[in-house]
C-alpha cells in the first residue's frame, strides 16, 4: 500500500504519495508547474529546466524531484517566472520557429508557454540555424527546424516489438533527433499519431494530418496552458 507524506507547496500543506514526481503531485493538488520535456507516463529527463522550482530554497527541476516527507516547495516567484520566460525565449531564438507556417501552431506547448509569459520578442538574437526537413518517411515528417531536443519521442515511442523509433545523434548544441529509417518504413497510423502527439512542438508530424483543426478550436486558442490549475 502506498504511503502518504506531507509536503508544502507555496506555503500550503498537501498530502501526496511518497516518491511521486513533484510535477504530478503538484498537478494532483491543483498547482500548475510548467513543463516541456516532461510527459506523463514516460521517465523524466530534466532537460528543459522550465519546471525549475525552489526546493527548501534551492532551485531544482520538479520533474526529476520525488516527493518526500517535509519537502518545502515554492513553485512561483518573480525570479522563477523570469527564468522560465528566458528559457522559452532561448528556445525560440535557437531554432527556426515560424509559427505562421507551422502545422502545430495553436496546439504547440512551446507557443502556449510563450503566450502564457506574453513573449513578444526574445531578448536573445535569432540564430537562424541551417537544419533539414526529413520528408521521406512514409508516415512521418521530421522538421529539425522546430525541434527543441526534449527527447520525449526517444523516451516514449516504441514499435510493438519494443524497438525505439527515435534516437539522438551528435552532442551539445549540434544534437539531432533521428528517426530509424528501417523501423519507420512500416509503422501503424496509431503509432505515427502517438509520435506526433508526444512532440510538444511541430517537429514530428503525421503526414496528411496538418491543419486539420480549424483556427479557434485548437488546444490553446482560447484556453491558456495550465488554465485548469492554479499557478
Amino acid at each position: 500500500m502506498a504511503t502518504f507524506v506531507k509536503f508544502t507547496l507555496d506555503g500550503k500543506i498537501y498530502l501526496s504519495e511518497d516518491g511521486a514526481p513533484l510535477v504530478e503531485a503538484a498537478r494532483a493538488c491543483g498547482v500548475f508547474i510548467p513543463t516541456l520535456c516532461n510527459y506523463t507516463g514516460i521517465p523524466p529527463k530534466g532537460a528543459c529546466r522550465i519546471c525549475t522550482v525552489l526546493i527548501n530554497g534551492l532551485p531544482a527541476t520538479a520533474c526529476t524531484t520525488k516527493v518526500v516527507e517535509g519537502l518545502n516547495v515554492q513553485t512561483s516567484t518573480p525570479e522563477l517566472e523570469s527564468f522560465r520566460q528566458a528559457i522559452v525565449e532561448i528556445l525560440f531564438a535557437e531554432g527556426n520557429h515560424l509559427c505562421p507556417s507551422c502545422e502545430k501552431s495553436g496546439s504547440c506547448e512551446l507557443q502556449a508557454l510563450a503566450y502564457r509569459y506574453r513573449v513578444t520578442v526574445p531578448h536573445f538574437p535569432y540564430l537562424f540555424p541551417r537544419r533539414d526537413v526529413e520528408a521521406w518517411h512514409p508516415k512521418l515528417l521530421k522538421d529539425h527546424n522546430r525541434c527543441i531536443q526534449c527527447k520525449r519521442c526517444i523516451r516514449g515511442i516504441r514499435n510493438p516489438a519494443g524497438k525505439a523509433l527515435f534516437a539522438f545523434g551528435k552532442r551539445g548544441d549540434r544534437v539531432v533527433i533521428n528517426i530509424d529509417p528501417v523501423t519507420s518504413q512500416n509503422i501503424s497510423d496509431a503509432l505515427a499519431q502517438q509520435a506526433m502527439d508526444i512532440c510538444p512542438v511541430g517537429a514530428i508530424l503525421r503526414k496528411g494530418k496538418g491543419f486539420d483543426v480549424p483556427i479557434g478550436r485548437r488546444t490553446y486558442d482560447r484556453t491558456p496552458i495550465g488554465a485548469e490549475l492554479r499557478s
Binding site: 505562421p100 501552431s105 503566450y115 540555424p129
Partner: protein, 183 residues
C-alpha cells in the same frame, strides 16, 4: 489634445498587417478623431511631411531600401512599433535565411523549375535602380531600436486597436489572451 501623427510602412511583408489594421472596421471613424496619418500606404503619401508620434512597421528588412526606410522611420517617429511576425522575427521571408544568398538567387533566376529558357541567357537581375537584396532577412530590432512589438500573423485587429488606444491615451496595454497569437 492635439491629434497624434501616425506613419506606417510595409517592408518585407505582405500587407496583411495593414489589412488587419483596416479590420478595426467602424472604429476607424473613432480613430480618425484621435490621429492623423502622415507617410503611409493608406493615404499614399510617399514622403514624411513632419515629425510623427507613432510609426508602425510591417515586415522585416530583406533589401537595402527596407533598411533606409526603417532608419528614416526611426529618425522621424517618436515611438516605433514592430507590427506582425515578419517585423518581429523575419517571418516567412526569413525561410531563406538558412540558404546562402547565391543559392537562393540561382534557384530563382537561373536553375529553378519555373525559369524559362529564352533566346538570351538567364541572368540574376542587377540593375542599379533595383534595391540590393541583403544576405538574409533581418528582424527590425536588429537594424534600429524598436519600442514595442505586436505579435500575430497578422496581429488581430482588436490587438492593433488596443495598442493604438494605449499609445494615444498613454494607458498600459492589457494583452488579452484572445488577441495574443503568433499565427
Amino acid at each position: 489634445m492635439p491629434k497624434k501623427i501616425i506613419a506606417t510602412a510595409s517592408l518585407a511583408g505582405c500587407f496583411g498587417c495593414h489589412m488587419s489594421f483596416l479590420d478595426i472596421d467602424e472604429r476607424l471613424l473613432d480613430l480618425i478623431e484621435l490621429v492623423e496619418f502622415d507617410k503611409s500606404p493608406f493615404n499614399d503619401l510617399k514622403e514624411f511631411s513632419r515629425a510623427c508620434d507613432i510609426g508602425l512597421i510591417e515586415g522585416g528588412c530583406c533589401n537595402d531600401e527596407n533598411v533606409h526606410t526603417l532608419i528614416n522611420f526611426r529618425q522621424r517617429c517618436r515611438v516605433l512599433v514592430a507590427v506582425g511576425e515578419c517585423a518581429i522575427m523575419g517571418g516567412l521571408p526569413s525561410l531563406r535565411n538558412v540558404i546562402p544568398l547565391q543559392e537562393c538567387l540561382a534557384e530563382a533566376y537561373l536553375h529553378g523549375p519555373t525559369v524559362a529558357g529564352g533566346a538570351t541567357p538567364n541572368v540574376i537581375p542587377h540593375d542599379p535602380d533595383l534595391p540590393k537584396i541583403l544576405d538574409r532577412v533581418y528582424p527590425c530590432h536588429e537594424i534600429v531600436k524598436m519600442d514595442y512589438f505586436l505579435p500575430g500573423c497578422p496581429p488581430r485587429a482588436d490587438l492593433i486597436w488596443d495598442a493604438l488606444v494605449a499609445l494615444v491615451t498613454g494607458q498600459e496595454l492589457k494583452w488579452p489572451y484572445a488577441t495574443f497569437k503568433f499565427d
